[in-house]
Point group: none
Chain length 244, copies 2
């Protein structure tokens, strides 16, 4: 059960750090865990890049040659609302308070274990993902979590619960469950499901959706003969029922 998956696209992280060797190692580790990382060693350029590229998250070293990290944070905040994680060798409490009040979202003392950094980045992205991205197409956004009686489906955590018990869903199973649940009350045809999940055309023969459904149903406590959640609509598709 890994944490935040790259649901649609990989998250874009910008690391601002003058120690290139360290930065490279960090990038490698983060990228091997599904993040897209770019580096910036120079403070002044960082401000520009954050404004222009609008990364999903910024990791900002405080001790930079030239411009100070705090000042970068302050200058960038009016133009960037994403999360900023400050990284610093100084562990002074006052610095930390200052950094956080300056608009940082997290403040980690060096040295930091890569996995700890990753965990904190993920935690932050998870929190942030519930905020619909304003720069998107601007159509109706979907909520991050759905609840139907005792069944809860959480998109940010990619996890579901059935009366408080976590349901062990595979990635593909979760995707299908989410698709159905977020379209509750509407019959989804196999064509729709196919294009939404795989981006390819439905050939009219493929049974993989059916198999997935049959794998999901027992996990969410559904009886295939008398399903309460995922109803089969014969010769059309599947329907996630809204009401009990």
């Amino acid at each position: 059960m890994d944490g935040v998956e790259q649901t649609n696209e990989s998250w874009r992280i910008l690391i601002v750090e003058d120690d290139e060797r360290l930065a490279d190692l960090t990038r490698e580790y983060l990228e091997s865990n599904g993040l897209t990382v770019s580096l910036e060693t120079h403070g002044g350029a960082a401000v520009e890049r954050i404004r222009n590229e609008q990364p999903d998250l910024v990791v900002l070293d405080l001790m930079l040659p030239g411009e100070d990290g705090l000042s970068i944070c302050r200058r960038v905040r009016p133009h960037y609302t994403g999360p900023i994680i400050m990284l610093t060798a100084r562990t002074d409490d006052l610095d930390q308070v200052l950094g956080l009040e300056m608009g940082a979202d997290d403040y980690i003392g060096k040295p930091v274990q890569p996995r700890v950094l990753l965990a904190r980045i993920r935690a932050m992205l998870r929190r942030v993902e519930t905020v619909p991205v304003a720069s998107e197409g601007g159509n109706g956004e979907e909520p991050a979590r759905l609840q139907f009686n005792d069944l809860i489906v959480d998109r940010a955590m990619r996890e579901a619960w059935l009366s408080d018990d976590s349901i062990d869903l595979t990635s593909a199973e979760f995707d299908l469950l989410w698709l159905l649940a977020s379209n509750a009350g509407r019959v989804l045809s196999r064509e729709e499901i196919f294009t939404a999940l795989r981006g390819i055309e439905y050939d009219g023969q493929d049974r993989s959706i059916d198999v997935r459904v049959s794998r999901i149903r027992p996990k969410i406590g559904d009886d295939p003969i008398h399903p309460r959640r995922i109803k089969t609509v014969r010769s059309k598709g599947y329907l996630f029922v809204k009401e009990a």
Copy 2:
């Protein structure tokens, strides 16, 4: 899930901590800085209170008598989406990663300076505040649903109700019912019905439409001799009547 309290109201913080003296001090400090704080010393009760009170933020001590903080976090997560800050004397990296992956948003090692805690709480609340309150915004959506007195036909769910009782229609039956109902008040010839439903030419002999109608009628409470909904127009076709 009543989202985040908005701006001016004081934020409601719940501290789960068994050391009452420490907790009191912390509360005092936080309250003197404009937060509303309540305390909970017992782990089991904490789960209940978090679910019921839905505080804006939870500070959770990991080392509790009885239930472990991690387990509290896991149990509470399905019902609480607000931020959780974990507090612990153990500063092991692995614990930290575990805590974050368990759904915590921050993880602070003890001892923690009150003002650091305050700064982190504020940073977290600042981040959370931008989360829009569950936008229930449904406009525009065409319901694709027809109603004639006590008969309701819903295209999205491909289901129909007769005075609140779900009607058991097969796929082909539903298609025909929808076609007729969505053309209520107009006689549909067999030719039209055939091309609309099967996309093929009517050969002038086929009786399948008639059979379908005869199967639908009892289900929607129609008497074939004196039909109120689907009338036969002799040598023409069928008519779904608008008014009762």
